[in-house]
Symmetry: C2
Subunit: 412 residues, 2 copies
C-alpha cells in the first residue's frame, strides 16, 4: 500500500489558474457568486475536466456537479469535493482547491489503478459562502442532505433583490425540483480545504488531518444600565453598561485564551446607546462568538462565559439579557477515516499535523448523512476571504497526495 500516487503538479497549477479566470477580480481575486454567469462557466469547466478524466458527469437539481467513477462492487459511494462559489471578492483557493483536489485525485487513481471496487465521486458544490443570498450558506450540501425546500428558494432574497428561485430559473434550474438533489447513498465524504488560519504555517507543515469542526455559538448580549450626565453623575453612583460590557468582553476573551487552543471567543460587534461622548450609556449591545470542537469542552466554555456575564452584571447592578442566535454543535470526523488519512500521510512521508477546524465547512452538513473527514493545506499568513489568499502548488499537491492515498485505501 506504500506505492506512490503520481499527482501532476503542473496540471494542479493549471486547474487553479484556469478556474480563477471565471469571475476574475483584480490580479489574484475571484468574485463568483452562485448562479451568476461566471459561476455557470466555472461549473461547465469543471464538468469538462471531469469528462476529460473519464468520469460520468451529472448535474443535480440545485446546481451541484458530480463526476462519477463507478465501482465494481456498487453500494454506497465515497465522495470528495468542496464548493465552487466565492466571497465577494474572495481568493482562488477557498472551496475551488477542494474541487480541483478531488478531480485530480480521482482522475489519477483511475489512470493508475483503473476501476475501483467502490464507487468514487467528485463533487463541485454550488454554494457555501452565502455571498449572494445572506441565508443560503451551505446551499449545495444542504440540498444533498435534504435540508433545503422549494419554499426556502422562494423566501431567500439575494443582495440583488432576486429570489433564489428566480436566480435558479434564469440559468435553467427549477426550484420546485430541489428535493431531487437529496442523496441517501453516500457512505463517506472527504473535503480538502485551505486552512484559512495560521496554524500550519506556524507549525511549518503543509497538511493537517482534521479531527473535528468547531461548534459555533453566537450570543447577542444586551446590557442595560442608566444613562447619566458624564459630568454631573459621580463614578460611585453610576450604573454604566459600558464598564460592564468592557469587563465582560475582556473576561470572555481571556477565558478562551486561558483555556488554550482550540478554544476561541470573539467580540466582533458592539453598539453603544445613545452614543454621545458626554453621556454615560443607557445600553450596550454586543455579540459573543464562542467555538470549540469538543462536544463537552465547548459547554464548559459557554458556561464560563455565561457565569462571567451574570457575575459582572450582578456586581454592577446592570440588567443582562442575551439571546443565542446561532448554536451549531461540533462536527466530529470519523475516527477510522482520520486514522486512514494519518497513516497515508506517514507512509508517504508527508509532514502533517492533526487539528480541529475553526471555520465552518460543507463537511458539517454532509456529516448528517455520511461519515466525514477533512484535510487542510497551509494558507499563507493564515489569510482567507480575500484576494490575498494563497496556497502554494507544492502544498496543494501534498494535500492531494494524502487525499488520493486515502481514497485508494478506501475504494480499491
Amino acid at each position: 500500500m506504500a506505492e506512490t500516487i503520481n499527482i501532476d503538479a503542473a496540471r494542479v497549477e493549471r486547474y487553479i489558474t484556469e478556474l480563477a479566470t471565471f469571475g476574475k477580480h483584480g490580479e489574484t481575486g475571484v468574485w463568483r457568486t452562485v448562479y451568476s454567469p461566471e459561476w455557470v462557466a466555472a461549473q461547465d469547466q469543471v464538468a469538462a475536466w471531469m469528462t476529460e478524466a473519464g468520469l460520468e458527469v451529472r448535474r443535480d437539481a440545485v446546481g451541484n456537479v458530480w463526476g462519477r467513477l463507478e465501482g465494481s462492487e456498487g453500494g454506497k459511494t465515497i465522495v470528495s469535493g468542496s464548493h465552487i462559489d466565492s466571497q465577494r471578492p474572495g481568493g482562488r483557493f477557498d472551496g475551488a482547491l477542494g474541487v480541483i483536489a478531488a478531480l485530480t485525485a480521482i482522475g489519477a487513481l483511475k489512470q493508475q489503478f483503473g476501476q475501483p471496487r467502490r464507487t468514487l465521486e467528485v463533487l463541485s458544490l454550488c454554494e457555501e459562502e452565502a455571498s449572494r443570498f445572506p441565508t443560503s450558506n451551505f446551499l449545495g450540501s444542504r440540498a444533498i442532505t435534504g435540508a433545503i425546500t422549494p419554499e426556502d428558494a422562494l423566501e431567500m432574497v439575494g443582495y440583488d433583490g432576486k429570489t433564489m428561485a428566480e436566480a435558479m430559473a434564469a440559468i435553467g434550474l427549477d426550484a420546485t425540483k430541489l428535493p431531487e438533489a437529496k442523496r441517501d447513498d453516500i457512505d463517506i465524504f472527504i473535503e480538502l480545504h485551505i486552512e484559512q488560519g495560521p496554524i500550519l504555517e506556524q507549525a511549518d507543515v503543509p497538511v493537517a488531518v482534521v479531527t473535528a469542526i468547531n461548534s459555533i455559538r453566537h450570543y447577542v448580549v444586551e446590557l442595560t444600565g442608566r444613562s447619566d450626565h458624564a459630568g454631573a453623575r459621580p463614578m460611585d453612583m453610576r450604573l454604566d453598561p459600558m464598564a460592564g460590557a468592557a469587563e465582560i468582553a475582556l473576561g470572555v476573551i481571556d477565558t478562551a485564551l486561558r483555556m488554550g487552543r482550540p478554544a476561541v471567543t470573539t467580540i466582533g460587534r458592539m453598539e453603544v446607546e445613545p452614543g454621545g461622548p458626554a453621556i454615560v450609556p443607557e445600553k450596550v449591545t454586543f455579540t459573543i462568538d464562542a467555538r470549540h470542537p469538543d462536544p463537552a469542552t465547548r459547554l464548559k466554555l459557554y458556561a464560563a462565559h455565561e457565569a462571567w456575564m451574570r457575575a459582572v452584571a450582578a456586581r454592577r447592578g446592570l440588567d443582562l439579557k442575551w439571546t443565542i442566535t446561532t448554536d451549531l454543535i461540533p462536527c466530529v470526523c470519523d475516527a477510522e477515516l482520520v486514522r486512514t488519512l494519518q497513516d497515508v500521510a506517514r507512509e508517504q512521508e508527508i509532514p502533517f499535523t492533526t487539528m480541529s477546524s475553526g471555520a465552518g465547512h460543507d463537511t458539517q452538513r454532509m456529516a448528517n448523512i455520511a461519515r466525514v473527514a477533512m484535510l487542510f493545506v497551509r494558507s499563507k499568513d493564515g489569510r482567507s476571504h480575500t484576494p490575498a489568499e494563497f496556497t502554494s502548488t507544492v502544498d496543494a499537491v501534498e494535500g492531494i497526495r494524502v487525499l488520493a492515498g486515502g481514497l485508494r485505501r478506501l475504494a480499491y
Copy 2:
C-alpha cells in the same frame, strides 16, 4: 447683615409654571430652541417681568435680555442670570430657573432695600444648549465675552438647514451687529442652576455653593489590530483591538473611580469595524470624556489615562492613535464670592454643601471677563435634559435666598 430677604415662593412657582408654557412639551417638558417663536415669547415674558420689577430692560445684538437696576455709585456691574433655551425636549428648570432666580432676587432687593450702591443686572441668556445649532453652545455668553463673530453666524448651520444669521434675521436680529453684544463693564457674574446630578439629593441638602466647574477633555481613540477569522485564528496569535479597547475602557473608568469624587471618566461611544459577529475586529474607535475641576489633578487624571492606553496598546501589539477634540480648562470660582455665598447661607441657616460642577455652564464663559460664582439647587434623582427634570419650589427658594443675600452684601 443677618436680616431675612423675603422671597415670594408663590411668585417663584408661578414664574416657573408660566415660563414653561412657552415651548411646552408634554406635561412637564419644554422644547424651546434659540430664536424659535416660543423662545421669542419666553424672552418677551422675561422682559415684561423685568419691567414689572422696575428694572430697565435692554436687548442686545445676540438676543440676550438684560434688566438693569442702576447703582448710586456707578462702576462695573454685578450680573446674575442663566439661559432661556432648552434641550429638545428638556425640562422646566435647566437654565430657566437661573433667570427666574436672578429676577426674583434682584426684584426683592429693590422692593425691600431700594436703590443699590452698585449696579445689579438680571441676564436672560439667549442660548446655551446647542439644541438648534450643533456648534452654538454658550452662544449668549460667548457674545458677551466677544467670542462670537458675524462670520460664525454665517457658518453655523442648524438642524433645520438654516444658518444662524438667517435664524436671527427671521426675528429681527442682525448678525453683522453681533460684536455689539460684547461687554467689558461686568465685575461679577453669579449663576444659579439646577445641579443636574445626584450629589445634593444624596447629601440631603437643598443648596450647594460651587467652587469650580470641571475641566472637560474629549479623546477620540483609534485602536487598530488585525482582522481575522473568528474560528480559524487561535487566541494566542490575535491582534484584537476589541480586547484592547475593553481593557482600556475598564481601566480608565476604574482610574476615575479610584481617584474619587469629583473625577469622572466616561466611554460614551464605541464603534467596531468591520463589525461582523464572526470577525475579529480590525479597528475599534471610542471616545473618552474625562473631567476634574482642579487644574493640577485633572492633568494627573489625563496622564493616567494616556499611560494606560499606551501600556495596553504596547502589550497587545496594537496601533494606538488619539486626537483631543475638546479641551476645556477648569473654571475656578472667585474665592471671595464663594466665601460670601457660604457666609450668607450659614447666616440664613440654609443647609448647604460645597462642591464642583460636573457639567459645563455659561459661568465658564463669563469667567473670561468677570469674577464668577455659582449656586446649585437640588435635582430630583439627579436628572436633567429630560422632561422628568424636577426641583421643588422650596429648594428653589432656598437657593434664591442665598443668591439674594449674596447680591445684597455685594451691591448695598
